[in-house]
């Protein structure tokens, strides 16, 4: 009986050591494969650059030939957007004040370039580290989400309550979905929680004038007029950018510890 117990005890100590060892190998491999910080930086820049298209002072519901009533709005002209992609992202409706007609074109091109650059980064990283992850599901599903968002212009103003689209922040949800796909591929809890936080910010930016929050907190001095919509992009944009830098720094520190 004693021999049997000794054998089992040794087996258990061995098992614990093997599990700890396997866990450390798993973390090191994930670290070598992970490029999620880059995606955060890229999409953070995409969101912040979009501010250029969100303070067009000459555009308003009236100036674009549209007027709204309690239940509907009418337009005298349907050619209210420019570029290849029409409306659907950013400027989903002519009632979105201060949003450039080029906003949708910007979002589509910028998000697609962002997806491509993330894939390219993962590819280059895999060549140098020797660990090839699964990045194509991200490319395919994120591009599909973007295409669906563009195609949604036909029904977005009918089936979705106005509060969701009237600030022209739908593109943030496309980015949030793309990051959620990346989080699922990376299987990293901290990154998943961070992406969940971005989903919350995307929802906040769609439903609420973040400029009120900025003014209450004393950030900046004048968020009125054509600048009113900018905080709705500054907050999620900075969140992604700062998060990307933080994830990069943490990864680098872990890498040095090895």
């Amino acid at each position: 009986m004693y021999d049997k117990l000794v054998r089992i005890t040794n087996q258990i100590e061995d098992s614990t050591a093997i599990l700890v060892y396997a866990d450390s190998l798993r973390r090191r491999t994930r670290l070598a494969r992970d490029g999620s910080w880059f995606a955060l930086v890229v999409f953070g820049v995409v969101v912040l650059v979009a501010m250029i298209f969100y303070h067009a002072p000459e555009l308003s519901a009236n100036s674009t030939g549209c007027h709204g009533s309690a239940n509907s709005f009418t337009c005298t002209s349907v050619w209210l957007v420019h570029g290849l992609f029409g409306s659907g992202l950013g400027s989903s409706s002519p009632l979105v004040d201060n949003v450039s007609p080029w906003a949708t074109t910007y979002w589509v091109i910028a998000i697609f370039v962002g997806i491509c650059s993330v894939v390219a980064f993962y590819w280059l990283r895999s060549r140098s580290s020797g660990v090839v992850g699964r990045i194509w599901p991200f490319a395919c599903l994120a591009t599909t989400a973007l295409a669906l968002a563009v195609a949604s212009r036909g029904w977005v103003t009918i089936d979705i309550p106005g509060d969701f689209w009237q600030r022209g922040m739908q593109a943030l949800f496309v980015i949030a979905i793309a990051l959620a796909i990346l989080a699922a591929l990376e299987r990293r809890l901290s990154f998943s929680i961070f992406v969940a936080g971005f989903f919350a910010l995307a929802l906040l930016s769609s439903l609420y004038n973040v400029s009120n929050l900025f003014q209450d907190l004393g950030i900046g001095s004048n968020w009125n007029g054509s600048y009113q919509g900018l905080p709705n992009l500054i907050l999620p944009g900075l969140y992604l950018l700062v998060g990307g830098v933080a994830f990069w720094a943490v990864g680098r520190r872990s890498d040095r510890r090895r």
């Binding site: 000794v6 087996q11 190998l25 020797g130």
Partner: protein, 115 residues
């Protein structure tokens, strides 16, 4: 005695442990390749601190058991060897890790005393 119940248990605590996988290096290789679509041989070697010959032997055992797949390629002029996990390998790894965890948990539940 806490360990008596463990020793006299009907079900062996080492049931489910596969001899091919239940080896420190081979379990390590499977753990690494399970985290990616494919991993370069050199990365495994450097991460585990093994010689090329030693790692080759273990990879061969895993390959013969159908747990990993080895492919040769090149990046520019540099030849590369890639190791990827098979479906069978992924299952074997999960079973092994579950077995090890349940073994440790059983002891912890029964008091964790050692003779």
């Amino acid at each position: 005695m806490a360990s008596d119940s463990l020793a006299s248990s009907d079900e062996s605590p080492v049931k489910g442990i596969d001899d091919v996988v239940h080896q420190r290096v081979r379990l390590g290789v499977l753990t690494i390749v399970n985290e990616a679509r494919r991993v370069e041989f050199q990365f495994i070697q450097e991460t585990m601190g093994l010689t090329a010959g030693n790692l080759s032997q273990h990879v061969r055992v895993l390959e013969e058991a159908g747990l990993v797949k080895v492919t040769k390629g090149s990046a520019g002029r540099r030849p590369r060897t890639w190791v990827s996990v098979t479906r069978m390998g992924r299952t074997a790894l999960l079973v092994e890790v579950d077995s090890l965890r349940s073994l440790v948990e059983r002891v912890e539940r029964s008091g964790g005393s050692t003779p």
